[in-house]
Amino acid sequence: MTQPDRATETDLDRELIARWTAGDERAATQLVERHATALARFAASLGVREEIDELVQDTFVRAFGALESFKGESSLRTWLFTIERRLVLDRRRSDARRRSEVLIGESDAATGFDSLDKVVAEETEQRLRGAVQRLSPMQRDVFVLRVSEGRSYKEIADILGSTEGAARVHYHNAMRALKEFVDE
């Protein structure tokens, strides 16, 4: 997606928000469809393993309840990521049980009927996901937003409440650490 395409996506989100505010329920469905999977993916990247669907739902409920405060200075997806990340942090603070989320791969085991190639591919993917989870929380969040979600350093800074410079540093540190994990 080139920069002009990103602007088009932002315009589409703004149009859907305006239609929703005017009472068009179908606009809400389109907005949820556009961003729900990315939110689920981001949540999984943050280490959330349980009740991802509920987290995504809560994110949308919070966002739609505060649409009047969304000024459009960042993209809607950036704003949604911001909300979701705060919800994840709130969960971790209030529920020690969530620490089970750092256990990676228990549900990812291949079955005995999978082909060898598929097994190898899945194990590689599992290993890479595990490597990402071994990063420090800030490095992981920056890396995931940069590589998995394609956010700019400015957007990452907005989501994490940091600066572009700090985001850039965290990203490069994450890259260095990942290369070492992968080479182990």
């Binding site: 949308f60 409920v61 998995s148 992968v182």
Partner: protein, 234 residues
């Protein structure tokens, strides 16, 4: 320590993967990657990690999307007219989506007010307050006429509910507002929660057109109030 001769390229690799670079910048980065072993390794790792992170997440199913939308707080400035909120062409979809609690309370309150108001009118009309009036009417029934059998459409009840929970709504009654005395709308026997949004909206439309009087025969459940103008003095 990076062995890359152009460290700035490392910053652009995620943008290349996501197609965020213009044609000139993308070509410049790709040309560098073709000659730099470290950047080529970094790009391959980034693509693999991105693929792994995406592969570990399933798409949100449509049913869950619908559940999310149903839970969303409604905008305060939403249009309230039925033509904007209810899409007749997607009545089945609207029927599956439950009306919020506010809508159901509105219907229940409206029916209750009509019931009380109807009884008041009935009492007044029967002269209990010294005012001569017509024959007693049931307070609960709201009449919506069916112009023809072909135009009348019965919306099937939600599976599992008794047939009496269904509501017959006349197309003519919905399309052409008339005096309520000319239309018949059977109130559902089931709980309001069992009604679809369209059915509830039909009740509200009927209530909106009700002029406060009815001309139907009293139902067996509510025997007519007998007495003449001087009944109050007996």
């Amino acid at each position: 320590m990076s062995d890359c001769s152009n460290p700035g390229i490392q910053d652009l690799l995620p943008d290349l993967i996501h197609g965020r670079l213009d044609a000139v910048s993308a070509a410049r980065v790709e040309a560098h990657v073709a000659t730099c072993e470290e950047c080529a390794r970094s790009l391959a790792m980034l693509r693999s990690v991105r693929g792994a992170l995406h592969a570990g997440t399933r798409a949100i199913p449509a049913a869950h999307v619908a559940a999310i939308v149903a839970r969303l707080p409604r905008p305060s400035a939403a249009a309230t007219s039925s033509s904007d909120v209810i899409d007749l062409s997607s009545a089945r979809e609207a029927r599956r989506r439950p009306m919020g609690h506010g809508g159901r309370w509105r219907v229940a309150a409206a029916i209750g007010v009509i019931a009380i108001g109807g009884m008041s009118v009935t009492i007044a009309q029967r002269g209990l307050l010294g005012i001569p009036g017509r024959a007693p009417d049931t307070a609960v029934q709201i009449a919506a006429v069916a112009n023809s059998a072909a135009s009348e459409r019965r919306i099937s009840a939600t599976p599992g509910l008794p047939e009496t929970a269904s509501v017959a709504i006349s197309d003519a009654a919905l399309a052409a507002p008339t005096r309520a005395s000319a239309s018949q709308l059977t109130t559902p026997v089931g709980e309001l929660d069992d009604l679809s949004e369209r059915e509830l909206q039909g009740l509200l439309d009927g209530l909106d057109r009700w002029d406060g009087t009815t001309s139907v025969e009293p139902s067996p459940a509510m025997p007519p109030i007998h007495g003449g103008a001087d009944a109050a003095h007996r």
